[in-house]
């Protein structure tokens, strides 16, 4: 898989084969794999004194919907590109307008992976000592992070 900035201020991700497409599809799967969704996890940070109950009732549903909309959007883009490429070599073009939804989706996936696997400061973590399942999640998290870096550098800012 290759990712590169475009002249229009976006990002292009080239997928080479079915394995690459599966990695891209895993973004939405990882993002929704936690028992408690991100909106709820964020809502639980609000203390009862600060109005946690109201927050859960009025804010969390809006956040949940916004996060889900972003995942739906990028999930549909990936599926369409994969279908067009018939699972073979193909590209995804991320425009400047869509950059934040992509960044946010990668972030949702990484936050969910962190919630499940608690990698912590991944800079100092070596994948060698990890179990297969954990190593696979760690590598996906690092991949998502690398694309986020490119999005921040070339698209969002």
């Amino acid at each position: 898989m290759k990712a590169m900035p475009t002249l229009e201020g976006g990002l292009r991700i080239d997928s080479e084969d079915l394995a690459d497409w599966e990695v891209l599809r895993s973004i939405t799967i990882d993002a929704t794999a936690c028992d408690t969704d991100l909106a709820n996890r964020l809502g639980s940070i609000i203390s009862p004194e600060a109005g946690r109950e109201d927050w859960q009732e009025f804010v969390v549903p809006d956040l949940r919907e916004a996060f889900q909309d972003e995942l739906t959007q990028i999930g549909a883009t990936i599926e369409a590109a994969m279908f067009e490429a018939d699972g073979g070599p193909g590209s995804i073009w991320i425009t400047r307008e869509d950059g934040f939804a992509w960044y946010s989706s990668f972030n949702q996936a990484r936050l969910a992976l962190e919630e499940q696997f608690a990698f912590g400061d991944s800079e100092s973590l070596s994948p060698k000592g990890l179990t297969t399942h954990r190593r696979s999640a760690f590598i996906r998290s690092r991949f998502y992070c690398a694309i986020q870096g490119l999005l921040l550098e070339h698209v969002i800012k």
Binding site: L38, L42, G43, I45, I46, S47, E49, A50, G51, V59, D62, L63, A66, Y103, S104, N107, Q108, R110, L111, E114, F119, G120, D121, S122, C145, Q148, G149, L152, I156, K157
Partner: protein
């Protein structure tokens, strides 16, 4: 017809609201560059101020990024959470 006179007494009291803090907490996922970007985007802070606050989050585990009236603080917390930053609201001491 009897006339009824109404006397209205008005008693006004003014008290200063306790300010509320908007607190961003450290997490191992959100990139430092992203946290700075979000603080600039939401509060309109200068790059220098946003970087200082981001470093407080990173090094001290949390930073009070804004203080003021409750309603506005709630709005900012909502905005920061919509950018997936771990953010809470607390009464200023």
């Amino acid at each position: 017809m009897a006339e009824i006179e109404t006397l209205t007494l008005t008693n006004e009291e003014t008290s200063t609201d306790v300010p509320w803090n908007v607190v961003v907490h450290d997490d191992p996922v959100n990139l430092m560059q992203y946290v700075t970007f979000v603080l600039i985007k939401i509060f309109g802070y200068s790059s220098k101020k946003a970087t200082i606050l981001m470093l407080q989050v990173h090094q001290q585990g949390r930073s009070i990024v804004w203080s003021g009236e409750r309603e506005k603080a709630e709005f900012y917390v909502q905005q920061l959470q919509s950018h997936q930053l771990k953010t809470s609201l607390e009464k200023a001491e």
